[in-house]
């Protein structure tokens, strides 16, 4: 099995996950991981499915595997933040999101989760800053999406 084939499995899983067909997505990610356990993207994407299906502890474990394989994997930090938020571990989630944002300051989702968690912790001023940044990025994404739609 070549890395190209593993990539194809990951891609296929992703296409199912986008359509919220998580069971099928999971099967592809697991196949990819059985063939290449050193593939951080497959760990991260499986974590994303775990988050969507409420298996947050397993999501955190997968994110940590992805991060162990790639210390600069901002999406994995961000997803870990999301799973921690779901488990109401707000302090830990803020830490994970801050790590994610240190690697990629344009991650709207990480800014938002950070804002939500800071809000839950009663750190309102910091929350407002994070929300503001998240909104800025989200609006830019939305404008781009509108443009794409108009160009279709």
């Amino acid at each position: 099995m070549t890395s190209k084939e593993v990539d194809a499995l990951v891609k296929k899983g992703r296409s199912y996950a986008i359509r919220t067909r998580f069971k099928e997505a999971m099967a592809y990610y697991e196949k990819a991981l059985s063939l290449d356990p050193a593939n951080p993207e497959a760990w991260y994407l499986r974590a994303a499915v775990f988050v969507e299906t409420g298996r947050n502890a397993e999501a955190i474990r997968d994110c940590e595997r992805a991060i162990a394989l790639n210390q600069n994997y901002s999406e994995a930090w961000s997803k870990k933040g999301h799973a921690l938020y779901n488990l109401e571990r707000f302090e830990d989630a803020v830490f994970a999101c801050t790590r994610a944002l240190g690697l990629n300051g344009n991650d709207a989702s990480a800014w938002y989760i950070k804002g939500v968690c800071l809000d839950e912790l009663g750190r309102n001023d910091e929350a407002q800053v994070a929300y503001g940044k998240s909104l800025e990025l989200e609006i830019i994404l939305d404008m781009e999406a509108e443009k794409r739609k108009a160009g279709r």
Binding site: I18, T20, V51, E52, T53, G54, N56, H82, Y85, N86, A108, S109, W111, Y112, I113, G115, V116, D119, E120, Q128, Y131, G132, S134, L135, E136, E138, I139, I140, L141, D142, M143, A145, E146
Partner: protein
């Protein structure tokens, strides 16, 4: 509600409050193909078992929260109406379709008399259908929009900047509505359609204090609005464009809107009575609008089920109405052909 989506605290609490007031469940669904305004699929309108708020997949933060807040208010209004009295919408019957289309036809003839280049009959027929449907859809949406927005503004201070972005976006989209038909639809209807949106924008601009809705200045695309207040943004947009002629009608409609909405205590105790009052105000305001636009006989207040069935029968209603208006000029096969169904 059970969701793995991150939600800001005020939204989470508002969803819970909505569920408690209505004794129902609210589900959230992310969909890449969802309408940018989100969609509310609710048990009071559709034959479904649970309420679902659908929003575009790329809305992951406050944009999603705003959509949810907006639809929760709509759900509360619908649910309160259903529980305290009856939830009714602007529907239509064969007779009301005829009355609407006939009136548009008469007005179109008056316009056509002044034109050098006459509108082909097929285009005229198509315009009657489009215009009638358009007003039905707008009257089912537009009067609720200022109620929903003002309500969200007062109950959710943390998402006001998001709300600003939405108002700008929504206002622009509504200004562009029917543009492609500008040359073929009677001036009166074009102006009335624009006037409704003008009134909504102006009402929101007056109601939502500008200082708190200052644009997010770091966004490059929003920079052009620097130092402008929301009111200025919305009024400048309307008064510096060709829609200026909608102003007279728009100002009258704004007066109507204010007459009803000034009765609302936006910070009132949320409960079934409160949201039922909002429903009643929305219905009365809609009635005043239809009356002002001389469209009272065009629509009927009926159940959502009636409207769904009417939509299914709409083609038949239109055919019958056209038969009455044009007599033998209309035959089944050309009608079906025009609709692309032959």
């Amino acid at each position: 509600m059970k969701t793995e989506m991150p939600l800001s605290k005020p939204i989470r609490l508002f969803i819970r409050q909505t569920e408690e007031i209505l004794d129902t469940d609210v589900s959230l669904l992310r969909n890449p193909e969802a309408d940018p305004n989100g969609t509310l699929v609710d048990i009071y309108t559709y034959n479904v078992e649970k309420n679902i708020i659908v929003f575009p997949a790329h809305y992951m933060g406050l944009l999603k929260d705003f959509i949810i807040a907006k639809h929760c208010v709509r759900l509360l209004i619908k649910g309160a109406a259903a529980k305290k009295s009856r939830y009714l919408v602007c529907s239509f019957t064969g007779d009301s379709v005829y009355k609407g289309m006939h009136q548009i036809y008469i007005d179109a003839l008056k316009d056509e008399a002044k034109k050098e280049k006459k509108l082909p009959v097929q285009k005229l027929i198509r315009m009657l259908n489009i215009l009638y449907t358009n007003f039905n859809e707008d009257l089912n949406e537009l009067p609720w929009n200022p109620i929903t927005n003002a309500s969200v503004y007062h109950r959710m201070p943390k998402i006001r900047k998001t709300q600003l972005y939405y108002l700008m976006k929504e206002g622009k989209k509504d200004m562009d509505e029917m543009m492609e038909f500008e040359d073929i639809i009677p001036r009166r209807y074009f102006v009335l359609n624009k006037a409704m949106f003008y009134a909504r924008d102006l009402y929101l601009a007056k109601t939502l204090p500008a200082d708190e809705l200052m644009p997010v200045l770091n966004i490059p695309q929003m920079k052009k609005f620097n130092h402008l207040e929301v009111k200025e943004m919305l009024t400048t947009r309307w008064t510096h464009t060709s829609w200026y002629q909608s102003k007279v009608f728009g100002d009258n409609m704004l007066e109507i809107m204010e007459k009803y909405l000034q009765k609302i205590d936006w910070n009132g105790e949320p409960g079934l009575d409160y949201f039922h009052d909002l429903y009643q105000i929305g219905v009365n305001m809609t009635n005043h609008f239809t009356s002002y636009m001389s469209m009272k006989s065009w629509f009927v207040w009926e159940t959502p089920k009636h409207l769904q069935e009417a939509r299914e029968k709409k083609k038949e209603y239109e055919f019958e109405a056209l038969k009455k208006i044009f007599g033998d000029l209309i035959d089944r096969s050309s009608f079906d052909e025009e609709r692309g169904e032959s």
